[in-house]
C-alpha cells in the first residue's frame, strides 16, 4: 500500500538533509517522487554530480521531468520519474501500491538537460539575462513571454502578452530588467520585467523578422533587428526612436548579433544569400567585413575573446556551423555538419577559451571548443532546436537550448547531464501485438519511412525495413516530416504489419524473412500527391485499408492481403475524415466523420452501426469498447472526451473536459476494471468510463506522438507510447495484486 508520507516530510526532508550535509542520502527513486519538487529545485539548483554516478543519473532523470512533477499528484510523479529513470538507464522498482499503477518495462527515449521554462506544444525562443542578482531565462512562444529563474526553473511573474506571435526575445538594460520581444512582422515590444510596465510597442519597417539583439551603445541601450528588406533598425530602448539611421541593403536578414568590442559596439548580420556582413555601430553604421559563407545563413553570433580577437559564428541551411575571424573573414577550423538546418549558434567562454554551440532542425545541438569541433559533445533533443545561448548560472557557464517540444533546457557544456539518445528521428505511429509466449511486441513507423519491430530494450529495433521505396517527403523547412503509419496483428496465424507512407501501402509478413528483412506480401500505391491519410486495420484475421486511389476516385475499403475491394464505397469528400476501423458485434466498421456527424459503417455493406453521433469539428480520435454489455464509442478531440452509446448516439456521462491535444484514445480492461486511456500532448491519462473521474496519468518530459494499448488476459494492460523514442509500460491494478 502506498501511504503518502507526512506533508512535512514531503516539503522539508530535503531541507533538513541539506543542512545535515546528507542530501544525497534522501535522493533515491523510492523517495524522490514524493518530495516537493519546487522546494527540492531550490535546494538542488544546478548541483552537479560525479559523471556516471548513481546521483548523476538520478538527477539527470529528475531534471528532465521536474517541470511535470507536482505536489498534488505524487502517483503521477512516480510514473513520470520511473519512465525517465529507465530512459536514463537506471532500473526502477516495481511499486507495490493500491490503485492503478504504471511499471515501465523498457524505454528508448531522448533524455538529458534541465528543463527550465515550458510552453506545452509551442515552439519557444529563449535568451539569458540577469535580474536582481539571479540568472534568468526569458522564453517566448506564440504571444507569451515568460521569465524563469535559471537555477530552479521557477517562473517569475505571470507571462507577458505580446500583441503578435513572438519570433525572437532578448533581455538587457542596466538593471537587466528590460525585456524585448519581436514578431515576424516586426512588432517590437519592450517591458520592464520588475514593474511589468510596457515600455515600448512599435512596428519596425520590413517583414519576416527572425532575430533580435540588445546592446549598449554610447551609454544607452539599443534593440537591433532586421528582416526581409535588409534594412537594420537600431532603436533606443528608452524612447523607441532611431539610435542610428536605418542601414544595410542586402535583403533577407536571417540573423543579427551584437558584440561589445574594444572599438565599440559591433553588429553581424547573416543574410539569406549566404553572406555575413559586420558593422561598426559606434557613431554611425559603417560596414567592416563581408564574408561569403556560401549557403543561406540562418544564425550568427559575434564575440571578442582575449587572445583570439573577434570571432564570428555562423549557422547555415545546409547544416553547417562554423567559426570565422570576424576581422579578416578567414574561417577558423573546419565547419561542423548537422543532418538538418542549423537554426541557432552562440559563442561563449569556458575557462577563457571560446566555445561554440549550434542547434539544428534535426534536434541536435553540438557544443565544442570553437576551434576544436572534434572535441565537442552532442546534446540530443526531441525536436527541432530554435535557440542556443551561453549564460552564467550560479557561477557556472551553461548552455540554454529552446526546442520545438516547447521546452527550454539548460546544459553543462562540458559535462552534460545524463544525455542519451536511442532512436533516430521521431516515431509517429505505434501498435502493440501479442506474441505466442504471453508477451507483447511493438511495431512502429518513423519519419524516415521505416517500419520497425521491437521486442525489448536495446539501441536498435529487432527488425527495421524501409517502407518508403522511392517516395520521399517534399518538406517545408520547419515542418515535421510525416511518419509511416502502421497497423499490426495476426492474419492466418502470421504476424503482419500494414504500413502507409506517402501513399505507398505495404503489407509485410513479420514472421517471414527475406534477406534478413520481413517479406513484402503486397504493395498498393495511391496516386502520389493526391492521397488523403488512409485508415489501416489489422486484426481479427483480416488486414484492411481505406483510401482513395486518385483525386477523383471514391473512398474504397480493400483487403490488404488480396487487394479485393469490399462493398463499402464512399463518395470523395474533402471534408470527411477516415477515423479508423473498429470491431464490434463480430463485424468490422469504418469510422467516418464530416465535422458534424460521426458514423460507423459496415465495411462490407455500408450499413451504419447506429444513429450518427453529433460532433463539432474534427473528432480527433475515436475508439469503440464494450461497457456493461453495450457498445460505447469514445470520441476524443476539441478539448473533450465523450463516451456515447453506439445504439443511441447519446452521451453516457457528461463530456470530460480535457486539453485540446488529442494523440489517441483506447478502451482497456485492467484487472476487473474497465478504463479509457487518452494520449495528450505529453501525457497519457486513464479514466473511469462510468464516472468520468481521472484514475491515473503518466506525464512525459517532452511531447508524444502516438499511443497503442493491449489488454492481456492476465489483467495487465500494455501501453506503448511513441514520440522522440519509444516506451512500453504496464498498467496494472495494484489493489488486485495485494494478497
Amino acid at each position: 500500500m502506498i501511504q503518502a508520507p507526512h506533508p512535512y516530510v514531503r516539503r522539508y526532508l530535503a531541507g533538513h538533509a541539506a543542512k545535515a550535509g546528507v542530501l544525497e542520502q534522501v535522493l533515491v527513486p523510492d523517495q524522490l517522487p514524493w518530495l516537493d519538487p519546487v522546494r527540492l529545485a531550490r535546494q538542488l539548483r544546478l548541483t552537479p554530480a560525479p559523471e556516471h554516478s548513481r546521483l548523476w543519473t538520478l538527477l539527470g532523470a529528475w531534471r528532465s521531468v521536474r517541470h511535470r512533477l507536482s505536489w498534488d499528484d505524487p502517483r503521477s510523479n512516480i510514473a513520470a520519474l520511473d519512465a525517465a529513470l529507465l530512459a536514463s538507464g537506471m532500473p526502477t522498482p516495481r511499486r507495490s501500491g493500491a490503485g492503478l499503477s504504471w511499471h515501465p518495462r523498457w524505454v528508448e527515449w531522448v533524455t538529458g538537460g534541465t528543463v527550465v521554462g515550458s510552453f506545452e506544444g509551442r515552439r519557444p525562443f529563449a535568451a539569458f539575462g540577469q535580474l536582481a542578482g539571479r540568472s534568468v531565462l526569458v522564453t517566448g512562444s506564440d504571444t507569451d513571454v515568460g521569465v524563469w529563474e535559471s537555477a530552479t526553473g521557477e517562473q517569475l511573474g505571470e507571462l507577458f502578452s505580446a500583441s503578435e506571435e513572438v519570433a525572437a526575445v532578448a533581455i538587457g538594460g542596466d538593471e537587466g530588467s528590460t525585456l524585448a520581444s519581436l514578431s515576424r512582422s516586426g512588432r517590437l515590444t519592450l517591458w520592464d520585467v520588475v514593474s511589468r510596465a510596457q515600455l515600448l510597442d512599435v512596428s519596425l519597417p520590413g517583414d519576416a523578422f527572425r532575430s533580435l539583439a540588445m546592446g549598449r551603445l554610447r551609454d544607452r541601450w539599443v534593440a537591433v533587428a532586421a528582416g526581409s528588406t535588409g534594412q537594420v533598425s537600431v532603436r533606443w530602448v528608452d524612447t523607441g526612436e532611431d539610435a542610428l539611421a536605418p542601414f544595410g541593403d542586402v535583403p533577407f536578414v536571417r540573423g543579427v548579433a551584437l558584440a561589445r568590442t574594444g572599438t565599440g559596439l559591433r553588429a553581424a548580420l547573416g543574410h539569406a544569400d549566404g553572406i555575413v556582413t559586420t558593422w561598426d555601430l559606434q557613431e554611425q553604421a559603417e560596414p567592416r567585413v563581408t564574408i561569403v559563407i556560401g549557403s543561406e545563413v540562418n544564425a550568427v553570433d559575434l564575440a571578442e575573446f582575449d587572445g583570439y580577437g573577434i570571432l564570428l559564428a555562423t549557422g547555415t541551411s545546409n547544416g553547417l556551423a562554423g567559426v570565422w575571424d570576424a576581422t579578416t573573414g578567414v574561417p577558423l577550423g573546419p565547419a561542423w555538419e548537422h543532418d538538418g538546418e542549423v537554426r541557432a549558434v552562440a559563442l561563449g567562454s569556458v575557462g577563457g577559451d571560446p566555445m561554440l554551440v549550434a542547434g539544428a532542425l534535426d534536434g541536435t545541438v553540438h557544443v565544442a571548443p570553437a576551434l576544436q569541433p572534434a572535441a565537442g559533445t552532442v546534446l540530443p533533443h526531441p525536436d527541432a532546436v530554435t535557440t542556443v545561448e551561453f549564460g552564467d548560472v550560479d557561477g557556472r557557464v551553461m548552455v540554454a537550448t529552446a526546442c520545438a517540444d516547447g521546452n527550454t533546457r539548460l546544459w553543462d557544456p562540458v559535462q552534460p547531464s545524463a544525455a542519451r539518445t536511442s532512436v533516430d528521428g521521431r516515431i509517429g505511429s505505434v501498435a502493440v501485438v501479442a506474441t505466442d509466449h504471453d508477451d507483447v511486441d511493438v511495431v512502429t513507423g518513423d519519419d524516415r519511412g521505416h517500419l520497425q519491430l521491437w521486442s525489448g530494450p536495446g539501441d536498435l529495433p529487432m527488425t527495421q525495413v524501409d517502407v518508403a521505396g522511392d517516395r520521399r517527403a517534399r518538406l517545408e523547412k520547419t515542418a515535421h516530416e510525416p511518419a509511416a503509419t502502421v497497423a499490426a496483428g495476426h492474419v492466418a496465424g502470421r504476424l503482419v504489419a500494414l504500413t502507409s507512407y506517402l501513399g505507398a501501402i505495404r503489407l509485410f509478413d513479420l514472421d517471414s524473412q527475406v534477406n534478413g528483412r520481413p517479406r513484402l506480401v503486397r504493395a498498393h500505391d495511391l496516386e502520389e500527391g493526391t492521397w488523403r491519410p488512409p485508415a489501416l486495420h489489422v486484426g481479427d484475421d483480416e488486414a484492411l485499408f481505406a483510401a482513395t486511389d486518385t483525386w477523383n476516385d471514391p473512398i474504397r475499403v480493400r483487403d490488404a492481403v488480396t487487394g479485393r475491394a469490399t462493398g463499402l464505397q464512399l463518395p470523395q469528400d474533402a471534408s470527411s475524415y477516415l477515423l479508423g476501423f473498429h470491431r464490434s458485434r463480430a463485424r468490422t466498421w469504418l469510422a467516418v466523420s464530416d465535422h458534424r456527424q460521426l458514423t460507423f459503417l459496415d465495411v462490407e455493406t455500408g450499413t451504419p452501426l447506429g444513429p450518427p453521433i453529433e460532433v463539432q469539428g474534427s473528432p480527433g480520435s475515436v475508439a469503440v469498447g464494450l461497457l456493461e454489455g453495450e457498445d460505447v464509442v469514445a470520441v476524443f478531440g476539441s478539448g473533450r472526451l465523450r463516451l456515447c452509446d453506439v445504439s443511441s448516439g447519446a452521451d453516457r456521462i457528461p463530456p470530460i473536459t480535457t486539453s485540446y491535444t488529442a494523440r489517441g484514445v483506447a478502451f482497456a480492461r485492467v484487472g476487473e476494471r474497465d478504463v479509457v486511456l487518452t494520449a495528450h500532448f505529453a501525457t497519457v491519462r486513464v479514466w473511469n468510463p462510468y464516472t468520468g473521474r481521472r484514475l491515473a496519468q503518466l506525464p512525459f518530459g517532452t511531447n508524444i506522438e502516438a499511443m497503442a494499448v493491449h489488454s492481456s488476459p492476465d489483467g495487465i494492460v500494455h501501453v506503448a507510447v511513441a514520440g522522440p523514442g519509444l516506451l512500453l509500460t504496464e498498467l496494472y491494478d495494484g489493489s488486485a495484486r495485494i494478497g
Partner: protein, 673 residues
C-alpha cells in the same frame, strides 16, 4: 493553509422520514433526536467558520418525496470543489430483490421500487460531481451495509480521497433506532470535554481513522452493530469538525477574519494591556509608544493609494507596529477593548485595514487566495494565480475607494521574490490606483545608505513595487523612551514604575541595541533584584549573556524540574530548527525532539505540558497542510535556540537527527551511501 481553507460552503443534508403510509410494515420512528444529535455537532455556532448549515435542504429532513430529493441533489447549482457535504440518511431501510431502498413516506412495501429511493443512487448522484472532494455520507438505516454491494466496484474503488461512506449496520442486519446517534453523541461529548486521550483543542478537524474506530468500538460494545466504512480519508477531514478546537488559544484576539492573520495574540494582549500575570513574552507586540511610527503607518493606511515597505532589523518592533495597526482598526476589537484604546494613542480609524496577511511559509497563490477571501472576491476568475489576481482586481474595482492591505513577514514567505514579482507587483500596477499596501520586511541595519548594505529583499521590493520605504529602526522613527517604557512595564510587573525602575529601564534600553526581544529578556531577568541594586557591571553582564542564555535562565526559573526543563528545551530547539510554518504538533514534534539529543524520550504528554507552561509564550501556533504546527515567535529567538545549549549536539547533527526521524516516519530506509 489548513485542510478547510479551500471550502467555501458546508452543507448538512439530512434525509429523514418519520411516518409512513404503510405504518403496519414501517412503524413511525422518532428520527428527530437523531437529527438533533448530528445537527448539534455540525451546526454548532461555536464551530465558527467550520460550521455546516442545512440551509436549502431543510425539506429533506421532513419526510421528503423522491422527486424532491432528486431535484435538490442533482439540480442546479450542484456542488463544486468549494463545497463540503455531509449527507445523513435515517429512517427505515429495506433490501428488496437485491436492492437496498430508503423507505419514503409513500413507499409501498410490495413495490418498493415505485416510491422509494435507491440508497446507492444517492451516492451515485453525489459522485457525479467530479470536483466535489469533501464528502461524508452516513447511511443510518437497517441493512445499510447492503449498500456496499450495490455501489459499482468502479465507483467504490475510485471515490476521491476526501470521501467516506459510513453504513451503520452490516448487510442484512437491522440498525437500532438511535443506536448510531447515541454513540455519535457520546463520542462528540467526550471529544468536547477532553476526556478522551485523542481529544485536543489544537486541530480544527478530526482524523477519520480515530473517529471511525471510536464509533465502531462503541457501536459494537453497546448495540452489537457493526459499522461498515467505505473509503476513508487519511488526513483530517473537513467533514469532521473538532468540537473541542479552541481557535482563540494562543491565537489572535477576536477580529474580523480578514485581519486575523496579523491580529495581536490574546496572550500578548493580556500581557501588555491588561497587565495580567504571569508575564509571558511579548510575542512581538508592543502596544504603547512608537507614536511617530504609528502615525506614519496610520497616514499610509488611510491616505491615497500607496505602497509602503516597512523594513527593519529583527526585533525592532515593525511586526508589532503592523499588528497594532491591524488590530486597533478592527471594529470588534475596538468594541471589546475600548478602555485599552484610550491609552494606546495614536489609534487608527475603525476599519482602516481591510485585509491582513502573514506571509510566513506561504506561496504566492496562498497569499492571493487569502487576499481575495478577505476582500470577499469570491471564486477565482480563471486558473492559478492569475485567476485569484483577476478576482482581487474585480473586488478592488467594485469598491468606492482604495482598500488597505497589510502583509507582514514577506521575507519568510515560501519564495519572497516570487511573491513580489508574481503577485504584489501586479496588485500595485500603476494603472490600478485601488490599493494601499503596507509590507513588513526584515532588513539588515537601520542605516539609510542602501549601498553599504548591498541589495537585499527590501530593496528589491521597493524597486519592484515603486514603493516608499520606512525603516522602523531608523532614527526618524526610533523613540528610545518607548523601549525604556516597555522595560519599565516589565520591571514593575505592570504596576506604576518607581523612579528607580524607570532609571534602570532607561539603562537597559540604552544597551539593548534597539531590540525589544533583548530588552524584554533583560528586564525580566532584572525584575527581581531591586532596581537600584543593579550595577553597570551586572547590567552589562546580563545584556552580554545574550538572548539564548537569557531564555535558558528564564526556563530555569519557570520549569524547576531539570528533566522537564531538558525536554522543554529540546522541544523548543526542534521548533527552532523546523522549516516553513513550523514543526507538526501531532506527528513529528516529540519524535524529532527525542532524536535530537538526550537519553530520555520526549512524548506527546511532554508537548502538552510545554504548551501549558508560560514558556509556550515563545511559540506561535499555525496551520500547514491541515495540521497544527509550532515555531518560535521571533527570528532572533529562533537563531538563538537553533544553536542549542553548550554541550548539545551541533546544528548539523541536530538536522541529521531530524532527517532520520522524518525518514523513519515515512517508512523509508536510511542507507548510508
Amino acid at each position: 493553509m489548513s485542510a478547510g481553507d479551500d471550502v467555501l460552503r458546508r452543507h448538512l443534508i439530512a434525509i429523514a422520514t418519520d411516518t409512513f403510509a404503510a405504518d403496519a410494515t414501517f412503524p413511525p420512528l422518532d428520527v428527530a433526536s437523531e437529527l438533533r444529535t448530528v445537527a448539534d455537532w455540525l451546526t454548532d455556532e461555536s464551530l465558527g467558520d467550520r460550521r455546516f448549515t442545512d440551509e436549502g435542504y431543510e425539506v429533506l429532513a421532513r419526510s421528503p418525496r423522491y422527486d424532491q430529493i432528486r431535484q435538490l441533489l442533482t439540480g442546479d447549482p450542484g456542488f463544486t470543489s468549494g463545497d463540503a457535504v455531509v449527507l445523513y440518511v435515517t429512517g427505515h431501510g429495506h433490501k428488496d430483490q437485491g436492492v437496498h431502498w430508503v423507505v419514503l413516506r409513500d413507499s409501498d412495501p410490495s413495490r418498493l421500487s415505485h416510491n422509494s429511493l435507491g440508497t446507492a443512487e444517492l451516492i451515485r448522484w453525489l459522485a457525479a460531481y467530479r470536483d466535489l472532494t469533501h464528502v461524508l455520507i452516513i447511511i443510518d438505516l437497517c441493512q445499510a451495509g447492503d449498500v456496499a454491494d450495490e455501489i459499482p466496484a468502479a465507483l467504490q474503488r475510485d471515490l476521491p480521497e476526501g470521501w467516506f461512506v459510513l453504513c451503520t449496520a452490516s448487510a442484512g442486519v437491522d440498525a437500532g433506532l438511535g443506536a448510531f446517534s447515541g454513540v455519535l453523541e457520546s463520542v462528540i461529548a467526550d471529544l468536547r470535554s477532553g476526556t478522551h486521550r485523542e481529544s485536543n483543542d489544537q486541530e480544527p478537524y478530526l482524523r477519520p481513522s480515530y473517529f471511525v474506530e471510536e464509533l465502531q468500538r462503541r457501536l459494537t460494545e453497546k448495540h452489537r452493530q457493526k459499522l461498515v466504512s467505505i473509503n476513508q480519508p487519511y488526513g483530517p477531514s473537513v467533514c469532521l469538525p473538532n468540537p473541542r478546537y479552541d481557535a482563540t488559544r494562543l491565537e489572535a484576539v477576536a477580529t474580523n477574519p480578514a485581519r486575523r492573520d496579523l491580529a495581536l495574540s490574546q496572550s500578548a494582549l493580556d500581557t501588555h494591556w491588561l497587565h495580567r500575570a504571569p508575564v509571558t513574552f511579548d510575542q512581538g507586540s508592543v502596544f504603547t509608544g512608537r507614536r511617530r511610527l504609528m502615525t506614519r503607518l496610520i497616514d499610509v493606511a488611510t491616505g491615497p493609494a500607496d505602497t509602503l515597505v516597512v523594513a527593519g532589523r529583527a526585533g525592532c518592533g515593525k511586526s508589532a507596529a503592523l499588528a497594532r495597526l491591524v488590530t486597533c482598526s478592527d471594529a470588534a476589537f475596538r468594541q471589546q477593548y475600548a478602555h485599552v484604546l484610550a491609552v494606546a494613542e495614536p489609534v487608527p480609524p475603525a476599519d482602516s485595514v481591510d485585509v491582513a496577511v502573514l506571509a510566513t511559509g506561504k506561496t504566492p497563490d496562498q497569499i492571493a487566495q487569502q487576499i481575495a477571501d478577505g476582500l470577499g472576491a469570491g471564486e477565482p476568475q480563471g486558473d492559478g494565480l492569475t485567476g485569484w489576481i483577476t478576482a482581487i482586481w474585480q473586488a478592488l474595482g467594485a469598491r468606492d475607494g482604495p482598500a488597505t492591505l497589510v502583509i507582514d513577514g514577506l521575507d519568510e514567505a515560501s519564495d519572497p521574490t516570487a511573491v513580489t514579482l508574481t503577485l504584489l507587483e501586479r496588485l500595485t500596477s500603476q494603472k490600478y490606483g485601488w490599493l494601499r499596501l503596507l509590507i513588513g520586511v526584515r532588513s539588515s541595519g537601520s542605516g539609510a545608505t542602501t549601498d553599504q548594505r548591498g541589495r537585499e529583499l527590501a530593496d528589491l521590493v521597493v524597486d519592484a513595487l515603486g514603493a516608499r520605504r520606512l525603516q522602523a529602526d531608523a532614527d526618524e522613527f526610533w523613540e528610545e523612551e518607548d523601549l525604556a517604557g516597555y522595560a519599565a512595564q516589565l520591571l514593575a510587573h505592570g504596576e506604576q514604575p518607581s523612579p528607580e525602575q524607570s532609571r534602570l529601564a532607561a539603562r537597559i534600553a540604552g544597551r539593548s541595541g534597539r531590540s525589544y526581544l533583548l530588552t524584554g529578556l533583560v528586564a525580566r531577568h532584572l525584575a527581581e533584584p531591586s532596581a537600584d541594586s543593579v550595577s553597570d557591571a551586572l547590567l552589562r553582564e546580563v545584556v552580554e549573556t545574550g538572548v539564548r542564555d537569557l531564555v535558558l535562565q528564564d526556563l530555569e526559573s519557570s520549569i524547576p524540574d531539570p528533566a522537564m526543563r531538558d525536554k522543554a528545551l529540546r522541544l523548543l530547539r526542534t521548533a527552532a530548527l523546523s522549516f516553513g510554518r513550523g514543526i507538526p504538533w501531532r506527528d513529528l514534534w516529540a519524535r524529532a525532539a527525542t532524536a535530537i539529543d538526550g537519553a530520555v524520550p520526549v512524548d506527546q504528554d511532554d508537548v502538552a505540558r510545554l504548551l501549558n507552561q508560560r514558556a509556550s509564550g515563545y511559540l506561535i501556533r499555525d496551520m500547514e497542510d491541515g495540521g497544527v504546527v509550532y515555531r518560535l515567535f521571533h527570528d532572533e529567538l529562533k537563531s538563538a535556540l537553533t544553536e542549542g545549549r553548550p554541550g548539545d549536539v551541533d546544528e548539523t547533527s541536530a538536522h541529521l537527527a531530524i532527517t532520520r526521524t522524518l525518514m523513519a516516519h515515512a517508512g523509508w530506509e536510511w542507507t548510508l551511501r
